[in-house]
């Protein structure tokens, strides 16, 4: 067995168990070769040290609670983001319905004007919100 093959096999043996035949050949090479013996020794020491040192830390006991808190905050933020749109749409629908009930105007006109006003006021409201956000960003 060549030294390069032996050293590859040494590294391989640290990743997974090698078969009995490979192991025997490797051991006999290591017994005869000083360089590979020292390589094996260094790798063995290193492997033991890494295994002893690389111990997975545990998440703290508050991890779940903090995450649940962050997610609740995120849900609230998402709702707050949508809330003006929902209120606006709801207001538009209610106003249109009231006009439909109380105004002596043809229903088609009421619906058309209602939709148009809701849309236009939505655009204005959105522009106003962007303007406010820009002001906050300055």
């Amino acid at each position: 067995m060549k030294c390069q093959t032996a050293q590859e096999l040494i590294l391989e043996s640290l990743d997974r168990s090698i078969d009995a035949e490979q192991k025997t050949r490797l051991e006999s090479h290591i017994a005869e070769c000083e360089m590979c013996q020292s390589f094996w020794e260094a790798q063995r020491v290193l492997d033991a040290a890494l295994a002893a040192h690389c111990v997975a830390p545990q998440l703290s006991s508050t991890f779940r609670t903090k995450l649940a808190h962050n997610i609740s905050g995120e849900k609230r933020r998402a709702l707050q983001e949508w809330l003006p749109d929902l209120v606006h749409l709801g207001g538009g629908i209610v106003a249109t319905a009231l006009c439909f009930l109380w105004l002596p105007v043809a229903p088609a006109v009421v619906f058309t004007v209602g939709i148009a006003l809701t849309f236009v006021s939505y655009v204005l409201q959105t522009m106003f919100r962007f303007w406010l956000e820009d002001l906050e960003g300055l």
């Binding site: 590859e8 590294l11 640290l14 990743d15 997974r16 390589f39 260094a42 790798q43 020491v45 290193l46 492997d47 033991a48 040290a49 890494l50 295994a51 002893a52 040192h53 690389c54 111990v55 997975a56 830390p57 998440l59 703290s60 991890f63 779940r64 903090k66 995450l67 962050n70 997610i71 995120e74």
Partner: protein
């Protein structure tokens, strides 16, 4: 694998799906992030961020990649963003930046191992640390880092050789 989570998602039970996902992946994601940052409290913060992003994006998960790959990608990207934002490896001392491992070993002590690890290229360090954190599973490391198993082995072998060479020079 993860069929139950996919099923819950298709039933629009996002919170329940997230609960199962969290139970299954929180430790692995934490270890993955820890292998990148080398500091448990920072790794926990980044794990928080990663799971928050996962929660935000869960409903839009398109199932093209496996769920585990998708989760690990988000976790890795969050870790990378954190490293870039803080670039704390450059500003903090070695001892402050890395506190990962258990008490000193007689042959190679904690600090020596930390020094050897710190001198490895990032990808080799992540692979070798994760290999031991994941109880020597090359398959797990490959999945978590989205690398072929052959590449993981190659990084491992290079890291081992480099560390042994550094030990030799030190003597």
């Amino acid at each position: 694998m993860d069929q139950d989570i996919r099923q819950l998602l298709s039933q629009r039970q996002k919170d329940r799906a997230f609960e199962v996902l969290l139970q299954r992946y929180q430790a692995k994601v934490f270890r993955l992030v820890f292998s990148m940052l080398g500091n448990s409290s920072r790794a926990e913060e980044v794990t928080q961020d990663a799971f928050l992003k996962i929660w935000q994006a869960l409903q839009s998960y398109d199932r093209r990649a496996s769920l585990s790959t998708w989760i690990y990608t988000i976790a890795r990207n969050t870790g990378i963003s954190h490293l870039r934002a803080e670039s704390y490896r450059k500003t903090l001392s070695l001892e402050e930046a890395h506190e990962p491992f258990a008490e000193a070993e007689p042959v190679l002590n904690r600090l020596e191992i930390e020094r050897l690890l710190a001198r490895l290229p990032d990808e080799q360090r992540e692979v070798i640390v994760l290999f031991y954190l994941q109880e020597r599973s090359i398959e797990d490391v490959a999945t978590m880092l989205d690398l072929p198993e052959g590449t993981v082995k190659s990084h491992l072998h290079r890291a081992r050789k480099a560390m042994a060479a550094m030990m030799e020079v030190r003597r």
